[in-house]
Amino acid sequence: MRKISAAWWFLAPALLVLGVFFLLPVLAGLALSLTDYDLYALADLRNLRFVGLHNYWELLHRPEFWAALGHTLYFVIVGVPLSLLASLGAALLLNSPLSKARAFFRTALFAPVVTTVVAVAVIWRYLFNPKYGMVNFVLGHFGIAPVDWLGDPHWAMPMIILFAVWKNFGYNMIILLAGLQAIPQELYEAARIDGASVWRQFRHITLPSLAPILLMVGILTVSGYFQLFAEPYVITEGGPLQSTESVLYLMYDEGFKWWNMGTASAVAFLLFVLMFAVTAAMWRAGEARESLT
């Protein structure tokens, strides 16, 4: 008896904080998304109407929502593989027995992860300034005409993708590095004796051993990238021509610029459903592959 009640005392603070400041708002958000809470309701609650699934219906018919979704998917589909490639590449380099000063390189490559998004986003905006930015200056040396990173709708999102990759690759690099170091050396020895090339060793030993970690890291990165917000907010304000407007940016605009809280909540929940579906699918695909091997 004593043991049971003691446990609940231990759990109480965490459950209380999580319950009040996380679970409760999430449920309230669901309720909010079924109303048309807006400025008028803010002034006078009698102006609030229950609208059922109307917000969702209206969103799914709004071109702006699909555009925001498209931009977010573009960011995820291009950014995640790029980020994982960079992380894996860096991890492989660090893991190589031929690399020197490993601790230094590891720290240096990880440094961008620790920095504040807002601060480095400000730096990025200046680096990619079409006229005075370092990037176009360097590109100019290679004979490439200045790219309008901030103004051309086709180049703004790639710039943000580069930013996300630069900022985050170190995180996954550490995890993949740990995974690489866990692979027993004997496997590589045996393969070398058998005459396998470096590439074959990579394909048949490294990748399969890393598969579960890669999957997990992939899911985490996908989930994080769906929540793209700070970069468009600081660097491009959603532009140019809303080409960097992500789903969360749309939610922020709807909710805190125009105070259409009902619509904004619906946006948040649609995003959640989508994220859940995608990560669940990835998880299941990963499990299926594992059961095959």
Binding site: L39, A43, N47, D148, G239, P240, L241
Partner: protein
């Protein structure tokens, strides 16, 4: 570890204490005053005299950046954390008045010696009224007109600024030709709505119809304005840049990257400050050209208002009165270049004899307010988003106008319901 355990409740107590402190005014009547943009830096210099006149009132100024001001004010309203007195754009007054966020000031203004309504430009005073009551006192008046490089215009063969659209277009074409395509005619950032709005307000048709219940962007007048606007980019007279790409327009103006700049009075002070003395005679201002002659412009401006949630409305009104005094307004103008909303202040030598101000004095008599609906900020942003796509060639004029109407009608749906409800 026991110490660690003691720290936690202590910190919790400290947090709640600080939280409590955070939401209550301090002892000696601190007046929280929010300003938008650069006004904060300038008004701080005017405050010592106010505080000398009213010992016991201390004014604390907080500056909000212009691009975030609207959402900051709304969020503050929603979070019950509006200040004691605030600057507010006059196009937002209908919105905040509809929210019952602002204190009606009719009685105070009628009894005041400093705030005298007849002295104010009527168009600007009118923008502060909503539903029959006064919700703000104009602080400075603002409009949009042409800043231009006199020397570069003369090089292209013109001695005077344009008076109508056709002449403006001609001049910009000549500028392009004369500079071999290196110089733009004008800079009109595509993510700012003021420029298109000014052109649109020059038309006879209103932007919203039916008691501001539906969009009216498909009217012939608006389409004409939109066509003229989009055409400027298509002809190559205006670059399709946002204000993020041209983050330093003053330097570009000084370097002669473009000749015309559709902007407002604060830039008089900015150009005077940022351009070298040798270039001060090279630029001037001109009233906005209209379709068939000098045109109207937007009746912008900022007012000072007292939120209903203000802790010290009496002190807030004292500050408003102080800022409304002609002498103080004159000093404010000298600090920043913001235009006074009172005719008497315009008679002072500093304003009357400044050649760069003549165009403004002229334009102030030809101003049109934006439609006074709470949703206006959202509608005008939507308008510019769609216009920018038309500029980029993604939409035709007719398509853009149709989309604007569809969106405006959606945005105004709740308003229609509320009005219907109230009528019952």
């Amino acid at each position: 570890m026991r110490v660690a355990r003691a720290i936690v409740p202590a910190l919790l107590a400290a947090c709640t204490l600080l939280a409590a402190c955070g939401s209550h005014p301090e002892d000696s009547r601190t007046l929280e005053f929010w300003t938008i943009g650069r006004e904060g830096e300038a008004v701080v210099k005017l405050l010592p005299e106010f505080e000398r006149e009213h010992p016991g009132i201390h004014v604390r100024v907080q500056q909000i950046p212009l691009t975030a001001a609207h959402e900051k004010l709304l969020t503050a309203y929603a979070g019950d954390s509006l200040p004691d007195v605030t600057q507010i754009g006059n196009t937002w007054i209908p919105e905040f008045a509809a929210l019952h966020a602002l204190e009606p000031l009719d009685a105070l203004a009628a009894a005041s010696r400093d705030v005298r309504e007849p002295d104010y430009f009527p168009a600007v005073w009118a923008t502060n009224r909503f539903d029959g009551a006064l919700y703000g006192v104009p602080w400075y008046v603002d409009t949009r007109l042409l800043f231009y490089r006199v020397d570069l215009l003369r090089d292209a063969g013109f001695d005077a600024p344009p008076r109508d659209w056709a002449e403006w277009r001609r001049q910009m074409d000549a500028i392009r030709a004369h500079s071999g395509g290196k110089r733009w005619g004008a800079l009109l950032p595509t993510n700012e709505y003021d420029q298109l709005l000014a052109l649109a307000l020059q038309q006879h048709e209103p932007l919203l119809r039916d008691g501001a219940r539906y969009g009216n962007f498909r009217s012939a007048g608006f389409k004409r304005a939109l066509a003229f606007y989009v055409d400027l980019y298509r002809r190559g007279d205006v670059p399709p840049y946002t204000n993020i790409q041209v983050s330093n327009p003053w330097e570009e103006f000084g370097r002669g990257a473009f000749v015309f700049y559709l902007s407002g009075p604060w830039n008089i002070g900015e150009f005077r400050k940022r351009l070298p003395p040798s270039q001060q005679d090279a630029w001037s201002t001109a009233p906005l050209p209209g379709p068939d002659g000098p045109g109207d412009s937007v009746a912008y401006g900022s007012s000072v208002a007292i939120p209903v949630a203000s802790h010290d409305k009496r002190a807030a009104w004292l500050l408003i009165e102080y800022l409304s005094r002609p002498l103080v307004q004159q000093r404010f103008y000298e600090l920043l270049g913001d235009l006074p909303p009172r005719r008497s202040v315009w008679e002072s030598p500093a304003l009357k004899q400044d050649p760069k101000l003549h165009a403004f004095r002229d334009q102030l008599e030809r101003m049109q307010p934006a439609p006074p609906v709470p949703e206006w900020e959202q509608i005008v942003n939507m308008m510019q988003d769609i216009a920018a796509r038309a500029v980029a060639g993604q939409l035709t004029i007719d398509q853009a106008a149709a989309q604007m109407d569809v969106q405006a009608d959606t945005i105004l749906a709740k308003r229609r319901w509320v009005l219907q409800n109230q009528a019952r």
